[in-house]
């Protein structure tokens, strides 16, 4: 495996791809914020939010179900919300006993559980769409324009660059470990839990030293190219009228979703 598997950008010729990254980042955050603001049981509004998401999917030319197909990431975490169905608020729907404990599912609890899952599921799709239509370096530029601290952005862009280099290194280490324990296939791979964790720890230490030394060499390469401690960046992004129009239209649609959720 090559760590290209980490790339999330999908190229297409579309309006969404061309949109200024600031607009895309702001709208994603606004969409997720809007979901959080909606009251529980505002099914129509949540449906409208999903509709907007489908429109966005369509606009991206990546396919109507692009984000849907990738949206089950948050599912394992849903387990944490499962206990919400036993909320003591609201009227009981049915109850059952497990090992002498009676658990009662309430209507409020079910609504809460569904609300959490749908919000999570919509929010994660918005985030998936954002990185699919925006190259990651552009997202970082957008965040810098949106006043995220420069130092943090710089650290993240180094992280992004070296994530690929270092994960390749980890994969090499893991492959070497696998190669050395090849004789033991069929058996439980050597040693106890303690031993296995210690091997992982030694790898982490080795990786740490290599990374540390690499950062020295990178620093030298930066110095060689005129770096004196102040990072400068270019500002290639400018908002076009079409960007503003799209932003206004999308914000209006989000506002409409809120109204749908609150007026009943």
């Amino acid at each position: 495996m090559h760590s290209d598997a980490f790339d999330r950008y999908h190229f297409a010729e579309s309006r969404l791809h061309r949109l200024d990254p600031r607009v895309k980042v702001s709208l994603t955050v606004a969409f997720i914020l809007g979901n959080a603001l909606l009251p529980d049981a505002s099914w129509l509004a949540l449906g409208l939010a999903w509709f907007l998401l489908l429109v966005a999917n369509d606009q991206s030319r990546l396919g109507l179900w692009f984000t849907f197909r990738r949206s089950f990431l948050a599912l394992p975490f849903a387990l944490a919300a499962l206990s919400a169905i036993f909320s003591p608020l609201g009227d009981p729907v049915f109850s059952f006993s497990v090992a002498n404990i009676t658990l009662t599912v309430t209507d409020f609890g079910l609504v809460r559980f569904a609300g959490i899952l749908i919000r999570a599921w919509l929010s994660v799709q918005a985030a998936i769409l954002l990185v699919a239509v925006t190259p990651f370096p552009d997202i970082l530029h957008a965040l810098e324009h949106l006043r995220m601290p420069r130092l943090l952005i710089t650290i993240i862009s180094f992280l992004y660059r070296y994530l690929f280099v270092l994960t390749d290194e980890v994969l090499r280490l893991l492959r070497a470990r696998a190669a050395r324990s090849a004789g033991m296939t069929g058996q439980k791979s050597g040693g106890g839990l303690f031993w296995r964790a210690q091997v992982a720890g030694n790898m982490a230490g080795q990786l740490f030293i290599r990374s540390y030394e690499r950062s020295d060499r990178i620093y030298n390469a930066m110095l060689s190219r005129g770096y004196t401690g102040n990072l400068r960046t270019l500002h290639p992004h400018t908002m076009k009228p079409s960007d503003w129009r799209f932003l206004g239209l999308a914000l209006f649609a989000l506002l409409l979703t809120q109204l749908t959720g609150w007026i009943r």
């Binding site: 290209d4 990178i218 060689s224 270019l234």
Partner: protein, 252 residues
């Protein structure tokens, strides 16, 4: 042939008919006490392309890190007549373009464009000039269409070319390359040799690739044990079997 330095005004170093680089009696020891350079004397003239050969641990990389003041030991070093001092450091770093052996250390930005722009941007050049230089540098290494690519998507050979572009964009007077052909497949190596041949810049290239040395560089400097052990015409040096063997090298 692409023009690499169309704007000499940003680099106020005077044209030097004689020595572009002059190193006198350089000594350097690492913090652990291990001496890496023991009295290096070296002169490079404008327009020369010089190979730097020698076994691992000879001090080649250490010497290269001295040429733009990343390491400083004792002795004198001057570039285009300017002595290496704290004050001259920015000028000298722009004049001596250092390309490291591992392109993953050299290319530290997410995109090719940002990496090639890093040097000119940190020289304090205005934005339009930065853009122009990025285009020129990418054209010089024949990688113009890679402008918006992500660095981690490049092959080793492509990374090496972009790494060279990252210093060409600073319009260096002297290009210093560490092991440029290491790790390349034959085709990428051939393409690199073509590139080095056509670049109109003074060059000092550290390498183990003696076949490339014979093909590209009229002059060779041989180092071992932190000292220059031979300096002369490549044709003569590579004929000298005894010399090569004494310093762990093999005739190509």
């Amino acid at each position: 042939m692409p023009i690499v330095h169309p704007s000499p005004t940003v680099l106020p170093l005077p044209a030097t008919p004689g020595a572009l680089l002059l190193a006198k009696d350089l000594h350097f020891s690492y913090p652990d006490g291990h001496p890496a350079l023991r009295g290096i004397n070296l002169q490079l003239n404008e327009g020369e392309k010089v190979a730097l050969v020698g076994p691992n641990g000879a001090g080649k990389s250490t010497l290269m890190l001295h040429l733009n003041g990343i390491l400083t030991g004792s002795g004198n070093l001057s570039v285009a007549g300017l002595p290496l001092t704290e004050k001259n450091l920015p000028l000298i770093r722009a004049a001596v373009g250092l390309v490291f052996q591992n392109p993953d250390d050299q290319l530290f930005s997410p995109t090719v464009f940002e990496d090639v722009a890093f040097g000119p941007l940190h020289m304090g050049l205005p934005e339009p000039e930065v853009y122009r230089r990025v285009e020129d540098a990418l054209a010089a290494v024949r990688m113009s269409e890679y402008r918006n690519r992500l660095s981690h998507h490049l092959s080793v050979g492509e990374k090496k070319r972009i790494a060279i572009a990252t210093v060409l964009s600073m319009s260096p007077r002297l290009l210093v390359l560490d092991e440029p052909s290491a790790g390349l497949d034959p085709r990428a190596r051939r393409a690199l040799i073509h590139l080095l041949h056509e670049l109109p810049v003074t060059m000092l290239v550290s390498t183990h690739d003696l076949a490339m040395v014979r093909e590209l560089f009229p002059r060779t400097v041989m180092m071992d044990g932190g000292q220059v052990v031979a300096d002369g015409a490549t044709a003569d040096l590579l004929q000298n079997q005894a010399l090569l063997e004494a310093h762990g090298l093999e005739m190509p």
